[in-house]
């Protein structure tokens, strides 16, 4: 019988009944209908399934749900606050860093985590930090510009406070 577990997702508590060995990705998508987190490879190689766990980006496809009980999980659905987009989301729109956009939620969470840790990364630092994210459409140059822009937006917001 699957155990009852409490998951903290996007600031809310969700009680789920799931085998603790199941992937966090499967629970998010199939049990909680949080489908912004994408399946891309199932082996932690493409980062389409990236979520933030206690602020750190993690591949939810190889994360057993039992390992994240009690930890703060943020999915792409949790970035928008009160109808206001996260600066990285805004920057992706501003730079039109989208083709098929299947990789976009993972990219945005990866970039948000990077900017949390390093508010003013160099291009090389962005590329290195985002190295595990695959975009098969090859939108990398625009995504790089979007992350750069998000960094500027966050800096100017902070300084205008």
């Amino acid at each position: 019988m699957p155990n009852k577990q409490d998951l903290k997702i996007n600031g809310s508590l969700h009680t789920i009944q799931a085998d603790p060995e199941r992937s966090l990705l499967g629970v998010l998508r199939d049990d909680l209908d949080l489908t912004g987190t994408k399946y891309g490879c199932g082996e932690g190689q493409c980062a389409a399934c990236t979520v933030l766990i206690d602020g750190q980006p993690a591949p939810s496809c190889i994360t057993p749900v039992g390992s994240v009980i009690g930890r703060q999980i943020v999915t792409i659905e949790g970035l928008e606050k009160d109808g206001k987009l996260h600066p990285v989301q805004e920057a992706f729109l501003a730079e039109d860093a989208l083709q098929c956009a299947y990789c976009t939620p993972g990219m945005i969470l990866g970039a948000a985590a990077l900017l949390q840790e390093n508010p003013n990364p160099s291009d090389a630092e962005i590329a290195q930090a985002m190295q595990n994210h695959i975009c098969r459409c090859g939108t990398y140059p625009r995504i790089l510009r979007a992350v750069r822009k998000a960094a500027q937006m966050q800096t100017s917001r902070r300084s205008s406070r």
């Binding site: 499967g26 489908t35 399946y39 082996e43 039109d96 459409c137």
Partner: protein, 705 residues
């Protein structure tokens, strides 16, 4: 006749995955249409005579349509409702090339409204007119003009109605922001007000005047991706995100190898699991269960034995595809240069794998699936389930890419089979390993080239044989009288099919590599040698633009650095690329430092999205150039994961500079494919420049060739 306008394009040999199917008989009546769309104005657009779909249909005894008499074909329709909202219906699909945006621009331009006023209904076999599929870079040159004609005709109708109401000459009225204005009296009427209570239908052909590109206000500008917010918030539902009430998750038992036969099967343990449905129907074995986890467990509980025949390995590629020595016609001579080039099988690896949700209701089947050919998939389902096509609806949500790799409906058929047995909707999402194994591949190929140059550096003979990979882009654009090119079919060891730009990438790799080797024989600069043999002004223009922006003339040699150039034309696009590489001889590694690509495809519809396509094609092409190869042996794929199949990532991306040439005097061509063809030979030629090594096989990473 240029290749892109030719009906033969529909039967390009490398589109192996396309099966012949009957054209949809368009039989919606006027009453049906208004019941479907509501009152207002409907404009139906007849396919122009030049459309390959119609031309192919009219070919008596043609390969695909067997000389059938066809009704007049509708390519698209447009509806303006009583509230003034505009909806455009097209069978094309959005797979990341951003045509939902560019087609909105086409309609908005002629209707004189912002793109936000336009809703696009795409790829739904119940709501949109028949379409062959979204491939061949046909959307911009063929669908966009149809939608523009529909929009222009609709504008004329509403202006005419307003003029009648006001008893004025229509020519005295102007149109802006969805309203018809009378400048003399400052009166105005919105499109919706004009169409209130109307049920008007008009069928139009080619005779509608369109706004010339130099007067475009909405087309020609960088309108951002339509629905962008839904994508950055994760709200957009791809097929793999769909959910239906009571839906089950399906898994399919895959054979142990290609062409394997099922020898024994035991499904008892799987059948004993609660809530699990097991289907065994001919070669098909699959399960459906309430959760994916349960379905995976049920699949794992099935015992099966397979027997597979002996099958070749990728290392035997040349022997399999061209099992005889080269077969050149020309006599041997000192000035003749002959070489054999090879390209491996590669995978599209779209980040969203094949997916489908199937639902049966009262004998009717509805399938949501990510495909580039919704009507083709409807045909596959009709054949698989012995159903008339009007009992089947295929809907394509905007999809997680395709690159020519999603022309077929495997997941749709599988989900529909399981849903039929389970009596509930079933979703199937292929795993990455399934996508890398059971989809189709870009064909591997062997290409033999033989050429002779004269002492003055002009090419006097050119002979080019492509074995298996395909005929797209096979003709040399250089000025070579009597050039001989031939595509030879071969027994493919793997299931193969379309890929972005089809075989043009392979053929450009071989041709443009050979051009550099010839330039060396002629002791000429690679660019000068090309220009000396080239008359096509559009191709010359992109070569010159790329070279100028790159600084080709002033390039400075440095140890283990090299510079290469390559270009060509395909599907109405003209491309040239200059690349700079750094070579690590000891480690046998190549890094691309910089790539400058010039691209011209007529009048530019959306500069930002065009640049995005060109950059994306360069990045994707980088993978095929440097690392990508499917390894196989005995009917098994040996590297069916991203951990074993290297695709371009962030740190691989060179400094990319895109130079777009805007030819407002020329019709717009598609841009999703052609920009991919030049990067591989440009890198190869840069490696030659750096090392003197003339590589002749993709991928290039191994400098031993």
């Amino acid at each position: 006749m240029s290749r892109s306008d030719s009906p033969e394009e529909l039967a390009e040999p490398e589109r192996y995955e396309l099966q012949a199917g009957p054209l949809y008989q368009f039989d919606l009546t006027r009453r049906d249409l208004f019941r479907l769309l509501g009152a207002g104005l409907v404009i139906l657009v007849l396919l122009p005579d030049t459309d390959p779909l119609k031309a192919a249909a009219q070919e008596s005894g043609g390969r695909r349509f067997m000389g059938r008499e066809l009704p007049q074909e509708i390519g698209a329709w447009l509806h303006i409702a009583e509230d003034g909202s505009v909806t455009v219906y097209t069978g094309k699909v959005e797979v990341g090339q951003n045509i939902r945006t560019s087609l909105s621009q086409a309609a908005a331009e002629e209707l004189r409204v912002p793109t936000a006023y336009i809703q696009m209904v795409m790829g739904d076999t119940q709501l949109t007119p028949f379409d062959m599929g979204t491939f061949g870079s046909r959307t911009t040159p063929t669908m966009a003009p149809q939608i523009r004609r529909a929009a222009a005709a609709a504008r004329d109708v509403v202006v005419g109605l307003a003029a009648k109401q006001w008893q004025l000459d229509p020519a005295s009225l102007t149109v802006a922001d969805g309203r018809v204005l009378d400048p003399a009296s400052h009166r105005s009427l919105g499109y919706g007000e004009i169409l209130k209570g109307q049920k008007l239908m008009q069928t139009i052909g080619a005779g509608v005047a369109l706004t010339p590109a130099d007067r475009w206000k909405v087309a020609g500008t960088s309108v951002p991706k339509v629905d962008g917010r839904a994508f950055v918030t994760g709200r957009h539902r791809y097929t793999s995100d769909f959910k239906r009430d009571g839906m089950l998750h399906g898994k399919v038992l895959r054979p142990a190898a290609f062409n394997a036969e099922l020898k024994s099967l035991n499904t008892r343990n799987a059948e004993a699991m609660p809530g699990v449905t097991v289907v065994h129907d001919g070669n098909f074995v699959g399960v459906a269960a309430p959760t994916l986890h349960d379905a995976e467990r049920a699949l794992a509980a099935i015992e099966a034995e397979w027997q597979a025949p002996d099958q070749p390995a990728d290392r035997d590629l040349v022997a399999v595809l061209r099992p005889h020595p080269t077969a050149f016609q020309g006599a041997p001579s000192a000035s003749r240069l002959q070489a054999t080039y090879t390209v491996p099988y590669i995978a599209h690896a779209p980040l969203e794998p094949r997916a489908a949700v199937a639902e049966w209701k009262d004998g009717r089947l509805t399938v949501w699936t990510g495909t580039q050919r919704p009507f083709g998939v409807r045909g596959e389902l009709a054949a698989a389930f012995h159903l008339p096509e009007d009992q089947i609806r295929v809907i394509v949500p905007d999809t997680g890419s395709g690159y020519g790799g999603k022309h077929t409906g495997e997941a749709a058929v599988e989900a529909a089979r399981l849903a039929k047995a389970a009596g509930k909707p079933v979703k199937i999402v292929w795993t990455r390993e399934e996508e890398f194994t059971w989809a189709y591949f870009r064909p591997g190929g062997v290409i033999d080239v033989s050429a002779v140059i004269r002492p003055d550096g002009t090419i006097s003979e050119w002979e080019f044989h492509n074995y298996n990979s395909g005929g797209a882009g096979i003709r040399s654009p250089y000025d070579i009288p009597g050039q001989q090119t031939e595509f030879h079919e071969a027994p493919s060891p793997l299931r193969q099919g379309s890929y972005r730009a089809l075989a043009a990438t392979a053929n450009h790799f071989a041709r443009e590599s050979h051009m550099d080797d010839l330039a060396r024989v002629a002791k000429m600069d690679p660019l000068a040698f090309r220009l000396k043999n080239l008359k096509d002004e559009r191709l010359r223009a992109v070569f010159q633009a790329a070279a100028q922006h790159f600084g080709w003339e002033g390039r400075k040699a440095a140890p283990d650095r090299g510079f290469g150039i390559a270009g060509g034309t395909e599907k109405g696009g003209y491309v040239a690329c200059c690349a700079e590489v750094a070579v690590d001889r000891a480690g046998g590694k190549v890094s691309v430092i910089r790539a400058v690509e010039a691209f011209e495809c007529g009048a530019i519809v959306n500069p930002a999205h065009l640049e995005n396509q060109v950059e994306g094609a360069i990045v994707m092409g980088l993978g095929g150039a440097l690392w990508e190869a499917i390894h196989f042996d005995q009917g098994r794929i040996l590297n069916p994961h991203f951990s074993g199949y290297r695709v371009p990532r962030f740190t691989d991306v060179p400094q990319i500079e895109v130079v777009l040439l805007d030819r407002k005097d020329l019709p717009s061509a598609g841009a999703g494919e052609s920009p991919i063809v030049a990067i591989a030979p440009a890198i190869r030629n840069a490696i030659l420049d750096a090392t003197g090594i003339a590589l002749r096989s993709l991928p290039l990473e191994k400098l031993s060739g």
